[in-house]
Amino acid sequence: MLRLDSVIKSFGAKRAVDGISLVVPSGQLVGVIGQSGSGKSTLLRMINRLSDPTSGSIHYGDVDVTALKGRDLRAWRARCAMIFQQFNLSGRLDVLTNVMMGRAFHAPLSRSLFKLWNDEEKALGLSALEGLDIGRLAAQRADTLSGGQQQRVAIARALVQEPEIILADEPIASLDPRNTQVVMDALQHINRHMGITVICNLHSLDLARKYCDRLVGLAGGRLVFDGVPAELTDRVARDLYGLESGEVLSPETQPGLLPVGAETGLALANH
């Protein structure tokens, strides 16, 4: 169980995250929604400790995440994987090496620095890639892949960490509709079948409603909505998004989605 207590993050005089308290039980798929600049990314980055809260605390079980340092901090990051909008892969390295980064906490330094992964680790990496239907790309340079393929590599990297939580920061914001569905299906599968808690920043309300068990709405760094997708009425959404509401609310069409039942070519989702 992840617990945030009045977490604040200030950049100068501006509060990007302004006193958020939140409890996420294990196994949930939580969608964090809100306008651009509402503090969604900052919130996720604080959970993984890529950035430190100005005040407040984050606990996971008995672990005080905000107090972690050195190896303990890295151990936490290994348990709490992160997926980024821009994938954050090393473009000039091959796909498998990128995925093996997920083992870098567990493998001894001497081996990981020289890419001396053992067979077990390689098998883990390859099977993660295979599960996301991109096993054949293992030897390719990461920057030769399409956006959707790169994001799946990033998900594979997160999976070989064998994490308890996956934080996804706008994972589909740079993707086309087809890849959006592939990636969201993969995250849902990971949540449902592997029991990994997923916290996912989303800009699109339609996607958030479709995939998430629970939605958390941020506006101006504050938590303004917390409930199941059904409770998120258009009126609430309009408050949440203000001027951007026209962009995210589209009652009759669902932009960014294929028709239900479309073949996604994602092996993992079909198991």
Partner: protein, 260 residues
């Protein structure tokens, strides 16, 4: 324009650079150059290459020593700079004070002239190439450390963050997040440095730190005119060949990076 000219005139006076002296004595310089290309017999050097290059075997060996000094010095400096760069670069440094300290250290290494280091090492380790190699290594460490750090500061941080977020230690995030982005630039700077160091190491012999410079300095001081020109021509040709060679490799590297 008038201001620039006035400033130039003023600084000439201040620095005691006198145009009249320049024109009065320029003949001495051209005369010296002229003497360089005549043998003791008074004939032009090209008329008797065997006499001109009487010391070819010795000079070639010393020139070889000079190149080896430059090579070893560059290599040692580059290895040091490679590790220091990641500590010095503001965007990836493990600690701000470390970055500050390493930067000041590199500054020190490259601002103290190589000749001064060479002199100190000659005093410490005696005459010979050892002193020259150390002087070149230290100067290269300072210069390359700064250049490398600047390359690292210009990288895209997203891959580094991606590796870091997995719980990987700092070394691993540098190795896999940063290094692939900077490697070709590093190699290019090292080759450039090698070119500079070949010239530098030729001069280091002046203070007895090994290589061809020792013989060149001796020839200049003892007015062995044709020897001076013979050695200078050898140095110029060697440096030009190395420049062309490393230049080709560097351009190929740049092509590799941009043509992907």
């Amino acid at each position: 324009m008038a201001v620039v000219l006035a400033a130039a005139a003023l600084s000439c006076v201040a620095a005691e650079v006198s145009p009249s002296l320049f024109f009065a004595k320029i003949g001495n310089f051209t005369g010296y150059i002229g003497r360089l290309f005549h043998l003791d017999s008074g004939a032009l050097v090209v008329t008797d290459p065997v006499e001109w290059y009487w010391g070819l075997a010795r000079w070639a060996r010393l020139l070889g020593e000079t190149i080896v000094m430059a090579y070893v010095g560059t290599a040692l400096g580059a290895i040091g700079a490679f590790f220091l760069a990641f500590l010095a670069a503001a965007n990836v440094t493990p600690a701000r004070w470390l970055s500050f300290t390493v930067r000041r250290f590199c500054e020190f290494c490259r601002t103290v002239p190589g000749l001064v280091f060479a002199l100190m090492f000659v005093i410490a380790f005696g005459l010979g190439p050892m002193a020259g190699v150390l002087a070149i290594a230290i100067h290269s460490l300072g210069a390359l450390g700064k250049l490398f750090a600047e390359v690292v500061e210009n990288i895209d941080m997203k891959p580094v963050e991606g590796v870091q977020a997995t719980g990987a230690p700092w070394h691993v995030s540098m190795r896999f997040g940063a290094l692939p982005q900077v490697m070709s630039n590093f190699v290019s700077y090292v080759l450039l440095r090698f070119e500079v160091n070949v010239r530098e190491s030729a001069v280091l012999g002046f203070v007895g730190a090994g290589g061809i410079g020792m013989d060149l300095f001796e020839a200049i001081r003892k007015f062995y005119y044709s020897d001076v020109s013979a050695i200078l021509v050898m140095i110029v040709v060697t440096v030009a060949v190395i420049d062309i060679f490393t230049g080709k490799i560097r351009h190929r590297l740049i092509g590799l990076v941009e043509g992907r």
